[in-house]
């Protein structure tokens, strides 16, 4: 029996013991065909899914390599049936191919007639196909390329897409690396994406996804459409692009609720594109406004459903998805994979932290006991009210104050989901509040003040969940959230992960009400953090040590300084 680092489970999960000497080699060998599902401290879990296997096939790996990797690194005998199943699954890929035919345009061809017959008879697929050319091929309506691929994936006969991409209208873009350099993993991510044509790059918050986007644009050297979550994020993109590339302010347009500019590089928000007037999407022509050579989807895990549909029409353009985590609470990860493209690159957060590109973080959950009155209110509340009551309990306030007091000299964010609670906190802590109704101008002003250190504490709603670059924020306190969203947890943690100038640690606090839904949801989110490799600590509010005390934070600065 060999002593490999890998244990293959019957449910096709792979357990990788990270402290094993061969763990690194093994990770490299299994990464092409297995999704990293959890990466806690000692044993990482990968999952072999049909999609991952097909992506591996698309990337040029064959079943033999997969089986060989499993058998070679496995500690125990691998169930034969599982290997057979893997080979069978991989064998399904490539029986159908999508290619450009000089005469008929986009054509679906097969090397296995029975398969073509099967999919042609499938109700889901048939409407997207046109005229039968001969026994082995059938015309595809060019507009259906994306939807057809999606449908074929669902019926289990994924098509290999050889139709290629249009180059789009050329536009010179260069990276301006005079005082900075693309990091190794960013370089790898761009290479992985470019080699694959389209796809998703998964990097932790703060690891410089924008730069991956910029580098991809420099690679494409073509007009680019960038889709972002909101205007503030869009402006950040713009700033970064101007600073890091040869692009000038005039070349970058903003397409948002406020402005409708279309330039060689256009940054649009999801919101404006999905705005409907009289039941019609008003801004769809944006996609046709230019012969885009590259479309970048920022925070692709938030991609709204209408954009999925639009994206299906854009299969001939290169697409790059960027995200910190592909977990979607709506379970539509598969749609992301089939429409944007497979995951081209990901790296465990802890690896990047170890390289010093993101700040190390300490995660602490503080449990607050509700007082008797609150407990009674909670106990008799309607089920749909319960979470709000628990999350916004008054008893949290003194604890939040204590937490903030532990870090007198740091830049702090208090993050919550309920506006009245935020208003209250803002008043009690004497800190400005940023929420949905805050104007963009006001937001920019406050963020600037925060960056400059003029404002030490900001109270923010979930508008700040995403894409706000606040490099100096080192402490985040979340007081309420959107139920148990893991996605949100990752984003909020991301707010404090930008590397600090002096390399100091970030602190991520969650204040929860004990024995309520709040703590249940917290457990759900924390499991996610733990799975990302963050160890977290749970303390009772009463045990929360103050600054300089046992178990408390160290003095960060000499008071005499």
């Amino acid at each position: 029996m060999s002593d490999g680092p890998l244990i293959v489970q019957s449910d096709k999960t792979l357990l990788l013991e990270v402290d094993h000497p061969l763990a690194r080699d093994c990770r490299a060998a299994i990464a092409p065909f297995a999704e990293l599902e959890r990466s806690p401290e000692h044993v990482h879990t990968y999952r072999v899914t049909p999609l991952a296997l097909w992506n591996a096939r698309a990337a040029g790996h064959d079943a033999e390599q997969v089986v060989d990797a499993l058998v070679r690194y496995s500690r125990y005998p691998v169930p034969h049936a599982l290997l057979v199943d893997i080979a069978d699954t991989m064998d399904r890929f490539g029986r159908l191919t999508l290619a450009n035919n000089p005469v008929h345009g986009l054509v679906l061809t097969t090397s296995d007639r029975a398969v073509l017959e099967e999919v042609i008879r499938s109700k889901r697929v048939a409407p997207m196909l046109g005229q039968r050319i001969d026994e082995d091929s059938v015309v595809v309506h060019p507009s259906e390329r994306g939807r057809l691929k999606q449908a074929l994936l669902k019926v289990g006969w994924p098509a290999e897409d050889l139709a290629g991409y249009v180059d789009g209208q050329a536009h010179p873009i260069e990276l301006d690396q005079s005082n900075w350099h693309l990091r190794d993993y960013q370089q790898e991510a761009v290479e992985g994406f470019w080699a694959g044509g389209s796809g998703v790059v998964v990097l932790p918050c703060g690891a410089g996804k924008t730069l991956v986007g910029a580098a991809a644009m420099a690679e494409a050297k073509a007009t680019t459409l960038i889709l972002v979550t909101n205007t503030v994020a869009g402006r950040q993109w713009k700033r970064e692009l101007i600073a890091r590339t040869s692009l000038t302010e005039e070349e970058i347009g903003e397409y948002s609720g406020e402005r409708k500019e279309i330039r060689p590089v256009t940054i649009a928000t999801y919101q404006v594109i999905t705005t409907r007037r009289k039941g019609e999407y008003r801004h769809l022509d944006l996609f046709d406004a230019q012969d885009w050579g590259l479309i970048v989807y920022d925070e692709v895990h938030l991609l709204p459903a209408p954009i999925f549909r639009l994206t299906a029409d854009l299969q001939s353009r290169r697409r790059l998805g960027l995200t910190a985590t592909l977990v979607r609470e709506d379970g539509r990860e598969d749609d992301v994979f089939s429409l944007i493209g497979p995951k081209r690159y990901d790296a465990p957060w802890r690896d990047i932290e170890a390289q010093g590109y993101i700040a190390p973080a300490e995660c602490i959950e503080v449990r607050v006991s509700l007082d008797d009155e609150e407990r009674m209110t909670y106990a008799v509340a309607e089920p749909e009210e319960r979470y709000r009551i628990a999350a916004t309990a008054q008893s949290k306030l003194p604890v939040i104050r204590r937490v903030l007091d532990r870090h007198p000299d740091e830049q702090k964010l208090v993050i919550g989901a309920y506006l009245d609670q935020l208003e209250e906190l803002g008043a009690a802590l004497d800190a400005p509040v940023i929420q949905g109704s805050t104007t963009n101008r006001e937001r920019e002003k406050l963020f600037d003040a925060f960056r400059a250190g003029e404002v030490k504490t900001l109270v923010v709603s979930k508008v700040a969940n995403f894409s706000i670059d606040l490099p100096e924020a080192a402490v985040a306190v979340q007081v309420s959230g959107t139920f148990g969203s893991r996605q949100e947890e990752a984003q909020r943690l991301g707010r404090v992960l930008r590397p600090k100038a002096d390399g100091r640690q970030a602190h991520f606090y969650t204040v929860v009400s004990r024995d309520t839904l709040d703590s249940e949801y917290a457990a759900h989110r924390q499991r996610f953090l733990a799975e990302q490799g963050y160890a977290y600590t749970i303390v009772d509010a009463a045990d929360l040590a103050g600054i300089g005390e046992v178990n408390g934070p160290d003095w960060t600065e000499d008071p005499a300084d």
Binding site: P77, A81, A530, T537
Partner: protein, 754 residues
């Protein structure tokens, strides 16, 4: 040996040597028991149609083809040379071996000319796939058959050719009797086909032979030589071990689930679809897989019907033993159970004649031929050297050649092979070492073959901050049991991933664990530092646990007179009753009601027992178990083979009987059994006196008759003692069982002294 050939089968048998007779009895064991009294009896047993069929069923295609040639010979009795001419493509040694096989089994007899006994002729309906002769079919064939055939329209000729190929009998196509429309009906009218019943027609042999041209017996049916699949032995064993690990793990999980919640027994037997679905869901496997595991567990005797009303499928007592065994032994139990099972799991889900799908564990899955088929299929593979075997299709092909008359039984073979693959007996057509062990020496062999390939149990887990515990291998059963309580299984296989949750900690507390026990457990069993979150979780749940209390007591004492109860409680004489006050008006005790009653009575009180309808059980009853079958009680449909000694004895018996038959008899006395006539006694006493051997007709206590020649020694008290030279034994014969007596004539010499 007489110069002229023996005229009958019996006479020919008489000329066979003892060894040849032994071989006959081995090959056709069904005629050997009870021992035939003599050669004539042996010959008539050999003629029993069932016995002939069975013997023919065991012959391979080549041998049957040789037999066909003899059967088709125009005259009875065919010289071996003629056989060679008839089957030119058959190598001589193959032909000789075939003849040897046939004569050994007395399916053909004769030395210079081979004769086929009539029962054999009857048993082979269509020798070489040819029909009966035209005369037998009462057909008058045209004189110039060849010319007639040459003139036939092509579609009619095609029908004839089809019937000439393999099976001379065919269905008439459906259709109204609009005579002469279809080629077959036209052929009937021409008198080239014979109608044998309303639906079927038969092609006369003459036409078949003619159409086949120079190969009237069809192409030579040589043993197929399929391509041998060769695999690396080590790789095969590793894969087998993977399959074994999976099977053992899955069956264990399945039984664990059934232990918690048994599956219901359907009225028609078996497990219902709902339970099957539930098991599949809980095990995260497909429903057919769940059915297979159920069958596997049942075959190994780990699962059976039990429960208070005998209406539930429960793990058996053997399961408790099984789970303590090491992995290799556990696997061996499963594999051996599967090999000898009379059930075909592959039939689950198939529809019966009524269109109803067959349920797992249903009695409808029983096929008594299953163990024989399984063993014969695997035995073929075992003939190949280690590391090589056959692809399933080739194996079926080979089996079809080996026993063509039983080809219909081979339908389940591909499914059986797939099952063997799943178990790890077989890996892609190659037997694993353990699989060979299983075939050669059963359970022990299987376990030996698997030992060392399966991981050693581990006694630790890795605790992770996401509250998962990973057991990096099969756990020692003690820790597995513990973890089953304090955590939920999330994924299983080579390793097991457990998850600790609030619910699972609460369950552990419910089982009587304390928070500190749990802290200890994790500290002790985890190789990695216990995450703070886990410790916190334990304390947090423990803090809330037990605010409501539920307890169990054995008996209670209640009274409306609270003062009396206080008196009882404080009475020193009632200390033995271990009473304590639970609430005003109620005392409870951990002792049984009888004991409390006794103590109170002895102390001078006058307590009355209450109806135990409300009594609470202190301990949950032991987990229910089905009785299960005892291992080895499975009936083996294959007859026990004869031992050497038995064989020798039987041959001796036949020879003796035969000698007796042949002995010339002098004065004979025939008597009605049970009535000892004076003449019998007189003849016997004369024989004793003169030392003359006697010929005895004798019926033994079991009622089977025999003839023997005995050298009498004494005649005392209604018993004749004598030496039976043929059988080489001294025996006592009850005179009242002697049916006839004759003196053996001396001038011939005692036949026994041949």
């Amino acid at each position: 040996m007489p110069t002229d050939a023996p005229p009958t089968l019996a006479a020919w048998l008489r000329t066979r040597s003892d060894e040849q007779l032994s071989a006959l009895l081995v090959a056709r064991a069904d005629v050997a028991r009870p021992a035939p009294s003599d050669v004539v009896a042996l010959a008539s047993r050999l003629a029993v149609p069932v016995s002939v069929d069975r013997a023919l069923d065991e012959l391979d295609a080549t041998t049957l083809q040789v037999l066909d040639v003899v059967l088709l010979a125009p005259t009875d009795g065919l010289a071996p040379d003629a056989l060679i001419a008839a089957l030119p493509d058959l190598p001589d040694d193959v032909l000789e071996a075939a003849i040897e096989r046939l004569t050994t089994r007395a399916l053909l007899w004769g030395d210079d000319a081979l004769h086929a006994p009539d029962p054999v002729r009857r048993s082979v309906r269509h020798p070489a796939g040819l029909g009966r002769r035209a005369t037998e079919l009462r057909l008058q064939l045209p004189t110039d058959l060849r010319a007639t055939l040459a003139e036939l329209p092509p579609e009619e000729l095609a029908v004839l050719e089809r019937l000439a190929a393999e099976r001379p009998v065919g269905h008439l196509p459906d259709g109204p009797g609009d005579g002469g429309r279809t080629p077959a009906r036209r052929l009937l009218q021409r008198g080239l086909l014979a109608r044998i019943d309303a639906l079927n027609v038969e092609l006369p042999r003459e036409i078949g032979v003619l159409l086949r041209g120079d190969r009237p017996y069809g192409p030579p049916r040589l043993r197929p030589e399929p391509a041998v699949v060769a695999r690396d032995r080590e790789a095969v064993d590793r894969r087998a071990a993977g399959a074994a690990l999976e099977s053992v793990g899955r069956v264990g999980e399945l039984l664990g689930i059934l232990e918690e919640e048994p599956a219901g027994l359907l009225r028609s037997g078996g497990v219902g679809v709902r339970d099957q679905k539930r098991l599949a869901r809980e095990l995260h496997i497909g429903e057919p897989d769940a059915a297979w595991l159920l069958e596997l567990a049942y075959g190994a005797g780990l699962l059976d019907v039990g429960g208070p009303h005998r209406d539930e499928w429960l793990p058996t007592r053997s399961y408790d033993v099984w789970r303590e065994q090491d992995l290799a032994d556990r696997w061996a139990v499963l594999a051996a159970g599967w090999l000898t099972s009379v059930r075909l799991p592959s039939l689950v889900g198939q529809r019966d004649v009524a269109g109803k799908a067959v349920n797992p564990l249903s009695p409808d899955l029983v096929r008594h031929t299953a163990p024989a088929i399984r063993r014969s299929a695997l035995a073929v593979l075992a003939e190949y050297p280690a590391g090589s075997g056959l692809a399933p299709d080739d194996l079926v092909e080979l089996l079809r050649w080996r026993t063509p008359r039983r080809a219909d039984r081979l339908a389940p073979v591909p499914a059986l092979l797939a099952e063997a693959d799943r178990l790890g007996v077989l890996v892609g057509g190659v037997l694993s070492t353990a699989g060979r062990g299983l075939l050669a020496s059963g359970e022990d062999g299987a376990a030996d073959g698997m030992r060392g390939l399966l991981p050693e149990p581990v006694d630790h887990v890795l605790a992770q901050p996401d509250l998962s515990l990973i057991a990096p291998g099969p756990l020692v059963s003690e820790l597995a049991d513990t973890l089953a309580v304090v955590a939920d299984v999330e994924s299983s296989g080579g390793a097991t991933v457990f998850r600790v949750s609030e619910g699972s900690i609460r369950r552990a507390l419910d089982f009587g664990w304390s928070a500190s026990d749990l802290h200890d457990l994790f500290t002790r069993s985890s190789r990695t530092p216990v995450p703070q979150a886990l410790d916190y979780l334990i304390d947090d749940v423990a803090r809330q646990h037990g605010r409501l209390r539920v307890g169990a007591i054995e008996s209670y004492v209640r009274s409306d007179d609270h003062g009396l109860l206080s008196q009882v409680l404080n009475d020193r004489r009632t200390e033995e009753a271990e009473l304590r006050r639970l609430a005003p008006g109620v005392l409870v005790s951990g002792l049984g009601a009888d004991e409390v009653l006794t103590v109170l009575r002895e102390a001078g009180y006058a307590p009355a027992g209450e109806n135990p309808g409300g009594a609470v059980l202190t301990r949950p009853p032991a987990r229910p178990r089905a009785l299960g079958r005892r291992p080895g009680s499975e009936s083996t449909p294959v007859g026990r083979s004869l031992s050497e000694a038995e064989l020798a004895a039987t041959v001796r018996e036949i020879r003796a009987g035969d000698a007796a038959l042949a002995a010339r008899r002098g004065e004979a006395v025939r008597q009605v059994p049970g009535v000892t006539t004076a003449s019998t006694l007189e003849l016997l006493s004369r024989a004793v006196r003169e030392g003359v051997p006697v010929w005895l007709g004798y019926v033994d206590a079991q009622g089977s008759g025999s003839q023997r020649v005995v050298q009498p020694v004494s005649l005392v008290g209604g018993f004749l003692q004598g030496y039976d030279e043929r059988r080489g034994e001294n025996r006592t014969f009850a005179v009242h069982r002697i049916t006839s007596v004759a003196l053996v004539e001396e001038e011939q010499g005692a036949p026994s002294a041949q």
